[in-house]
């Protein structure tokens, strides 16, 4: 498909500005640009072009999207409508507190809900996404230790199953990462943990449940070991959906955690964002939370900045406020009964898929999974079929492929996360497709190796893209 630049025709632009009431300028020689190489297209061309691009995309609304670690649940439309309310959409972030009561109250109430479901007394909604929450949390851990004059702690322990953002975050805070191997059951290897854990340890970044979709049965032992050495337990809460309403993170000995509002709390992923981040912490870490806090005085709300030990600010203004509105709207709809069911039904759906596909695809870990199930291609290797082939073939059946080749510790992993919003019929159809693909792997392997057959393009050459990067269109519009 042509780009918008290739569709440009000189003189075509129809855009009309309001009538000018003044024309004087004070921008002198050398201050202004002479050329603006932007396209000229009609409004209808724009509508068709971007409608076409949207149709060459796949969202939760298009079909089942079992992308592991991403919690692609339904994005309720009421959330969008509430974020679009005039009083929110047109709310300027520099309005003073008295003029911002609605915004402050909404954030405050969202925090109250999150305190109740996570068990953490301290929290912030300032981070703009999961990784931003990680950064906030790890900075808080750093500030906590430094505040105790505990300056030698430089080691961050990270399981080998962790998401890449964990080690990348630790590095952004100047820490050295130490990888902790997993044991045969997919949990943290306690002996190996003990071997690296010492007084130089900042803490551990643990995803709960982990990226294998497993709940580490030694969690209380792990937090105890860390605390004995003065280290902190950080929980990557990207997988909170598995335990929302079933386990309160604070009770596990977690000191600080992040949540992705765009996963557990149903805000749309937007093709790669926006997200929303939340960081919750125990009381000993409260002083280090970002400085901007919302305080309730009687019936009114105000911003408070009196936190001298705070790490400061991680994001201007009220962060991704519109995302917070969406999450709050969802929380209201769930209420106490709904909240309790989220984790349970997410876990039920994943285990149902696991049970029905266990004879068709290899499952590296036998324990009941949580909200997602990790398979791999071990049973298909004999037919020269890889996880990539299976994933691409699923496209032909109308599905978005699962997460593939992550976590790194499972060879050829294929990670399926159905979420609680999918019905049994949807799961059954997906299971049928997966069974069919397992059969095709045996009898018509080339069908898989050449898949997808139905998409806009065949498999793309990423090596070429990286070797000779073309990152902008070079069609000139002047």
């Amino acid at each position: 498909m042509q780009t918008i630049f290739e569709k440009s025709v000189l003189g075509r632009s129809q855009y009309q500005l309001p009538v000018a009431i003044a024309a004087e300028i004070e921008l002198g020689e050398g201050m202004t640009r002479s050329m603006l190489d932007l396209p000229e297209v009609s409004e209808l061309d724009i509508v068709r072009h971007y409608t076409a691009l949207s149709q060459r995309s796949f969202g939760v609304d298009t079909g089942f999207y079992p992308l592991g670690s991403c919690t692609m649940k339904y994005n309720p439309r009421i959330n969008e409508a509430m974020a679009g309310l005039k009083e929110f959409a047109q709310f300027h972030p520099w309005q003073d507190d008295a003029d911002s009561q609605g915004t402050l109250e909404l954030i405050y109430r969202t925090q109250e809900y999150l305190t109740e479901v996570t068990g953490f007394p301290g929290l912030t909604l300032e981070p703009a996404a999961g990784a931003h929450g990680e950064l906030t949390a790890v900075m808080m851990m750093k500030a906590y230790h430094l505040d105790r004059n505990d300056t030698q702690r430089r080691k961050m322990l990270i399981p080998d199953s962790a998401h890449g953002t964990n080690p990348a975050t630790a590095a952004m805070c100047g820490f050295d990462t130490v990888e902790v191997p997993s044991d045969a059951q997919g949990g943290v290897d306690l002996e190996k943990l003990k071997a690296v854990l010492d007084e130089k340890t900042v803490g551990m970044m643990l995803t709960i449940p982990n990226t294998l979709g497993l709940f580490d049965r030694n969690i209380l032992e792990i937090s105890k070991l860390l605390h004995e050495k003065g280290a902190l337990l950080y929980m990557d809460g990207a997988n909170l959906n598995a335990i929302l309403g079933a386990v309160k993170p604070a009770k596990m000995g977690v000191d600080v955690m992040h949540i992705n509002l765009h996963k557990t709390f149903s805000t749309p992923h937007g093709g790669g964002g926006p997200g929303g981040g939340f960081v919750g912490c125990v009381s000993s870490l409260v002083p280090y939370l970002p400085a901007q806090r919302i305080v309730k005085d009687g019936d009114s709300f105000r911003l408070d900045f009196s936190a001298p030990k705070s790490i400061g600010r991680v994001r201007a203004f009220y962060s991704n406020f519109g995302v917070i509105v969406r999450a709050y709207t969802y929380m209201l709809r769930l209420g106490k009964e709904g909240t309790k069911r989220i984790g349970r039904y997410a876990v039920l759906n994943a285990n149902y898929i696991k049970a029905r596909l266990k004879d068709f695809y290899n499952i590296p870990f036998q324990q009941h999974c949580m909200h997602e199930v990790v398979f791999n291609d071990e049973k298909q290797t004999q037919y020269h079929i890889t996880t990539m082939d299976i994933a691409k073939r699923l496209i032909d059946f109308g599905y978005h492929p699962p997460t593939i080749y992550f976590p790194l510790i499972v060879h050829g992993s294929l990670m399926v996360e159905p979420t609680e919003t999918e019905s049994k019929e949807t799961l059954d159809e997906f299971i049928d497709a997966m069974m069919k693909i397992a059969e095709e792997a045996k009898v018509t392997p080339e069908l898989l190796q050449r898949a997808p057959h139905s998409a806009a393009v065949k498999r793309v050459d990423s090596v070429k893209a990286a070797r000779n990067p073309v990152v902008v269109c070079n069609t000139c519009c002047t």
Binding site: S57, E87, R217, L220, R315, R333, A391, A456
Partner: protein
Amino acid sequence: MPYIPHTKRDTEEMLKAIGINQIEDLFEAVPSDLLEMNEFNLPAGFSEQETRQHVSGIAAKNWTAEASFLGGGFYHHYIPEHVTNLGTRSEFFTAYTPYQPEISQGILQAIFEYQTMIVRLTGLDATNASMYDGSSATGETCLMAANITDRKKILVARSVHPQYREVMRTYCNGKGLIMEEVPFDMSSGQVDAAALGSSLTEEIAGIFVQSPNFFGVVENMKELSDMAHEKGAVSVQIITEALSLGILTPPGKNNVDIAVGEGQSFGIPVSGGGPSFGFLACVEKYIRKLPGRIVGETVDEDGKKAYVLTLQAREQHIRREKASSNICTNQTLFAIRALIYLATLGKKLRDLALLNHSHSLAFQKMLSEKGLRRVFSKPFFNEFVVDGCDTLLLQKLKEQRIAGGLPLKRFYPELKNSLLVCVTEMITKDDMEKYLREFLFIKEAPLRSA
């Protein structure tokens, strides 16, 4: 139950297929005293109708201006209807990051087009698929500058948005970088070039200057960039009013190495400060130091043009602790919306930028005639600082549903009676006249009572 479609029978059949009796059995790995069996202390769930009433009730507690002269990093601009309409198509907003290129060509192409727009606007060579916002993107740029130069000190102009400076400080503290502030000139409103020059040693990784700066004043980016380069530092231009790119000399032409900023002006509502998106563009030689996703053009197996996420050897999922950043999710949906906005305005973006400039200049002159003095002498884009304002004026304007501007005292004690006033195309002649009327009313009040 909202959003959970299981009937009782579904659940029973599923439990049976798994071979268990109740859902809780699946949580057998959870230590038993951790499993929450009690009710949460939360209200019962609301119907959609009740939800709408409740949230609308909270929203109504925000004061909403009919005319707003507030800028300072977020701007009220007109958003064409089709931009909102296309930008909220659900194939875009319910998708994840385009990891699977074959079924994500639409989003990938949109990001590719967005990258092209940003590169053309900034006059630089490369950019990524977006950042969270301008402030955090600027924080990341501190790390990027340190990484490029292998130096540990950042110089930032005090005329940079105060919250951006706070975020920069947080990122610098995290990484162990030192951030030093450079004063601005009280008469021009630009960064004090002499002071910058004396702080600019061979230890400096980068200079961070906002232009137009927090006072709306345009900086001499070329001169400053050349000073930075002489000492081996990178020159970073921060931009919070992206519309200024429509008329002002692009960063690339001023020898700027990295342009970073906020894209909200391009078709995105102010919404309390987000979600919108940050942009980060650089010269060719730093492309492999960029954080985040980048889309590149390539071909598929049949040789057909295709797009894919590329240069991933910078990113956290490949490089882990050696990645250029930890960013994963960004703000793609709003980058796409900005793209559609920019495609709509096209070359008219220049006219819109000029209109913003002329209207703000005209209003500044009207105010100055009546006695509200302009504080800084150098040219501004669409916001400016006036002196002689008091809280009574803002109060009176508020009664007329006008947000009169941003008092600067809390960020700059030396600017104690100053107000930052922004005029975009949303401000009508009528709004300006109302503003003046209120001002004159207050000014003349003492005379009346005498």
